[in-house]
Amino acid sequence: MSELRPDLAVIAAHVAAGSRVLDVGCGDGTLMAALRDKGCDARGLELDPANVAAAVSRGLSVVQGDCNVDLTDYPADSFDYVILSQTLQTTMRPDRVVEQLLRIGQRAFVSFPNFAHWRVRLSLLWGGRMPVTRLLPVAWYETPNIHHVTVDDFRALLAERGIEVEGSWFLTGDRPTSAAAANFRAEHAVFLLKR
């Protein structure tokens, strides 16, 4: 699991062994493979057909689809966990996606790059330009990130919808950051949500 992206490593470490997991936006199935090694029954949803082909050829069960529309196809309560890593900010309606995650799964892991990280703030404040950083490497006109979100924004959404936070992890690079100053100091955030 050493090659896992830091937020995925956090998720992999906190998924209970042997559980049923849906990885939404699973890419080539790296996290799913790690979860399979933990005895989980992992399924995936992925937009890019090349990624689906790569995951299928690893023996993983991945369905090509778009989390903006295809999550409604999954029956309620069919997974212990649904994972949405680094994808929330690319969706058309992040609030509806989160709603779907918690309809399909008992719990949901959601990770996203924090747009209120100090580097992003500095870049916008001093540069006056949309930030291009390590985690947000693409210029505004071609970025897939159409709904930038901060740690505090996300917490507010959860509070508004009455969604329980069972755990949260904040990272700068691969190092953890404290929850208190997370909105300023965290490059990315991982939330474990419960209905």
Partner: protein, 372 residues
Amino acid sequence: MSPRFIEHQRLVLPAPLLLDGGAALSPVEVAWQSYGTLNDARDNAILICHALTGDQYVAGRHPVTGKPGWWERMVGPGKPIDTDRFYVICSNVIGSCMGSSGPASRDPASDTPWGMRFPVITIADMVRAQVALLDALGIARLHAVVGGSMGGMQALAWAAHHPERVGRALVIASAARHSAQNIAFHEVGRQAIMADPAWKGGDYYGARGGGPAKGLAVARMAAHITYLSEEGLTAKFGRRLQNRDAKTFGFDADFQVESYLRHQGLAFTDRFDANSYLYITRAMDYFDLAEPHGGKLATAFARSVATRFCLVSFTSDWLYPTSESRAIVHALNAAGAPTSFVELESGFGHDAFLLDVPALDRVIGGFVGEGA
């Protein structure tokens, strides 16, 4: 060489085959081919199910046409379906004409060819014959069942009706039921055959002048269009003229696409029996896995949760479009079966599953071969 002079490898089933239509077919012969070696554990068998006009000659040289097998590019040593590792079986579906019992076979009661007295068969009946073949071969469980188009329907029927015997099901460019449009195209083909005076109500075997070749050729021409795509036809032929500089202002094959279709139609009549075409298209039209379950496809797969599924569709396939595969995926998700699905980019239309689509090779090789 005419199909009837070829000795196909055949198995005579030990018992009559009870059909969906209520009849018991007997005797039943199943012509089959195998590639690779069955291991001692007898657990490395892959059944490949052929499409409407396909047959058991998946790889190697076809004894009737002299051409390579229909999936030569996919099946063989070191190929995506690797015969160095797997024992690959393909049998001619019943109702067909490459050695298995069909309307051209002899009806023991009258000692004449069955013709239209051959009972109407279904996709599930084809699978029943395959089950009997595997029983005779001593193969209790398949590593995988694989099929494209009508072959995919058989693979779905295998997984739905015999889930304990199927480890993996790979369903390519297929559907869980025939749509109104699918039925409509088939009906055009059948009417073309039956409108040919040489069809003679199906009793044309041994007739002077042969069978309804003209009708069968037209049926094939119409069907062939549905296997291609507009972009494929445009790329291959456009409006180009056939061996001439100008239009003839007549009804000769001025256009390349006309000449191509005429050739396809004619070549088909050399290897296929018109009555078989009627019976097999009927079987496909009757196919609807959800029908016995009040239209709930997920219920059809309720027992299939230990089978791994992979569905593949192609962007330009309008005969069995992606939406049909998605409906199956939806049902399998609802049933809880481990399911993969990918829509591959291809301009070849429905026929893409037979053609050079490298991404398909990767998906098939990965799905069938991984962890085996």
